[in-house]
């Protein structure tokens, strides 16, 4: 099981961007999504999401707007911007390159 602070901030940003590329979500939903899809291998201490969200907003990759949740609560929804999308593409391709390289070093087969 991955320890709680295992995940690097850079990777977290990428995961958030990917999550938001599907649809706008609020903070809790993003955390749930990442947890669920990674089968709980990647678990972030939930609070660390918020500095990451601030960082992404500061860099203009996502924007946040207050809205109403399905249950009627006031929540801040985050959307991917055009440059966010572009950055996501870059990050993914970088990540794939690095994984390929690591796999090669470890002698593992790579399935793309």
């Amino acid at each position: 099981m991955a320890a709680k602070s295992d995940i690097l901030p850079g990777t977290l940003d990428m995961l958030v961007l990917q999550t938001l590329s599907i649809s706008p979500l609020h903070g809790y939903a993003i955390a749930q999504h990442i947890e669920r899809l990674s089968h709980e291998v990647l678990r972030v201490e939930q609070g660390s999401l918020y500095p990451a969200l601030e960082r992404l907003q500061r860099d203009g990759l996502i924007t946040g707007k207050w809205g109403t949740s399905p249950t009627g609560r006031r929540a801040r929804y985050y959307t991917l911007t055009a440059s966010g999308k572009k950055r996501l593409g870059q990050e993914i391709s970088d990540f794939e390159q690095v994984s390929l390289a690591i796999a090669r070093v470890l002698g593992r087969e790579v399935r793309v």
Binding site: Q46, S48, Y50, E54, T63, A82, G84
Partner: protein, 889 residues
Amino acid sequence: MSWFDGFAHRVRTVFNPGAHERELRDEMALHVELDAMQQRDANRARRRFGNRTYYQEETRRMTWLASLDVLRQDARYAWRSLRRTPGFVAMVVVTLALGLGVNAAMFSFLDRMFLRAPAGVSDPSALRRLWITRDRGTESFTYQGLNYPSYVALKAAAAGTAELALFNTDNGLRIGRNRDGPPVHAVYATSNYFDVLKVRPALGRFFAADEDVMGSGVDVAVVSHVFWRTRLGGDSSILGQTLMLGRTPYIVIGVVPPAFVGLDVQAGDVWIPLAAFPGRARQGKPWYQSPTTYGSRVVMRVRPDFDAGAFAARATVTMRRVEADLRGADADTSVSLATGSIIEARGPGKLAQETVIATRLGGVAVIVLLIACANVVNLLLARAVQRRREIAVRLALGLSRSRLVRLLTTETLLLALLAAGVAILTAWWGGNVLRSLLMPDIEWIDSALDGRVAVFALGVAVLAGLVAGVIPALQASNPRLGDALKSGVREGGAAGSRLRSALVVAQAAFSVVLLVGASLFVRTLQNVRGIDIGFDIERTVMAELQFEDGEEPPDVVVSAAMRDIAGRLERRPGVEHVGRAHLSPMRGYAVRPYFTGSDSVSFVSSDFGPLFSAVSGGFFAASGLRLLRGHTFSGGEYGSAGNEVMLNEAAARQFYPGGEPLGRCIRFGKRDNPCHTVVGVVENTHSRAVIDVKMGQFYVPLGSHAAEFSHGTAIVLRVRPEAMPSVRTEIQRELRRAFPLAHPFVISMSENLERDYRPWRLGATLFTAFGLLALLVALVGIYSTVSYTVGQRTHEFGVRIALGARMRDVVNHVLAEGLRVVAIGVAAGILLAMAAGRLVRSLLFGVEASDLSAMLLASCTLLLVAAAAALIPAWRAARVDPVTALRAD
């Protein structure tokens, strides 16, 4: 787009940090709530989330608020540490403020002259001025004055490419009939002037085309906003009212908007149609048809596709054609036209000497700032060494080096901003002083201090603060921690002292450069004052009459009255000689076509011909000119004579080299005019300005044929110095009695020349002032450096004295070390001065930019002053009590 989005978010957070904090808290609370519902365990949810306060802080760290916090912290720390050393703060602030102040003052002046386009006009980048160049032998003159027929032709030729307007200025008008009424600066302009400038009236209207028809100009006036508010009451009832300027009533028809003050440095008060310009008729023609009435200037608005070269070529062709039409054989074929920037000082015309001086002073101001900054760096270095223990402790406790550098630089920036505040005040005062020195004839409307100057001062202050602060900060953040924390270590480090010495060298070098400059300018002034202009400066007095426009009686009437007055004045005690002239010496000059013997030489030839003057027989003695050959005119001192002529030495040599000039025949005006016989030769003079070539000069008698248009309206007297004041009063009285309504003008030759001397005097004064300022700052720097070094080496001096060194030895030692550094600086400064000499060569007279004695003087001055500055700490070093020095830490 992305940077902008992010930027908007960042700015929003900074401006509303409270909201940001609240929203984040709500968001986190919601998150935990939702998770609690999901997990069905509130405690588990809280644990999963983590430390909310911690994450709130982390999030805040991502925003700019964190940086602002750091900045605020740094500033508070800097302020606290500065407050503990007020002496240091005062020294740094004063030094920087001096450097910043002179720069801001120079900027205020230079910005006004070179950078600022006329205010209140639309799109000034499309405006141009028109310049004319004429060649006269070896010289060529570039100026803006045009005559009216040329303007009409050029306007037509430019149709489609540019629209031209013509204007004229008169700064001598006054409100009302009284000669002492408030002065008014008038601009006479064609009716399309405001259209070309795209200015709209704030009140009323501007001239209509039918009010500006040559020959029937209507006396209407448009006034400036300031003039309307301060002199005319400032309410809209002014329209239709009459404004008396001199003896002419003008009807006010409009007011310009507040920002617009005309196209010159001197702000205009009143605009009047050009057709109403009271120009003088010449040779039977009204001024706007006379080819010799120059003085109007062109302003033009050009199309976006304007080609300056093509226009200049076309305009030149047009101008030459007009010249040929108007003046026939006398036409000047060398005339050429060119366009220039709307900012007059940038145009191709030669700059006034005062303005050139100002540009050089700008460079000098920068040097003064550099010296001041070097001082500040030295002071900061010394202070950093004093604080090394405090800094070492901080570093040991975990302060990052970059943070420390930022902290120390913030301190320096704070000092720089304080200095900027003082500097802005200095700039305001200094700017006013500069204006009154460099352009005293102008009535300034705007303040010497404005937004641009303030921004400039702040910007330079920040730059200086950063530059001066970074090096000591970097140095201070790199102490040898172990040594610093230990007690008993003295010297501040070899690198530090090398830097300090280098700074002193730089200061000395710059100071030498400025001192050399000052001494060169002082010598130039002395040389200029020593020029022999031929006339006797001490004893010559000139008298003329000045009339209101339109009130002037015919020249013959004035001349006759002046002859009577001259006769009466001759008998006065104290008056040695009296003469009359049609132009007072050194107050104007004229030329006339001449024909010597068989030559058919016209005066508009490749060489600017000899000057022409109509005088009485007594003129030469009255103005102190020696007679070299022959005799003066018949007809007495101040009377008329027949067709004679006198030459000066240069003219005699030019026309009769090696031969006999006396008895020869010269004709003036037309080729078949009567002969004027040469009766004498006088010494050469400068006739146009103090600095002049000794040109050829013809003198014809008043009343002779050649003098038919030149009447003796000026009186020249040779007066004994002790009788000067009483004679001058008498002259005034006589003139007033003859013409009660006119303004008598009596001036001595030396007063008249002051006008010519002024730029030289200015150069000497200002360069000396700046040079002394730099010397002062450098002196303070040398003193503080030597003082500091001595302080550091107290222990060493204690040992020396204990080992038997005498007071004299210690003093010599300290002096020698200090002077060694300064001497290196002096050598470097001499080299710099020689290299920079080129920049001031045009402002010097009679002395080379690489003058050896100036350099010697500057070097000796600096070494002497430096020795004096180093003497005090040296003496202190010699007085060290070895017991206390050895015992102390």
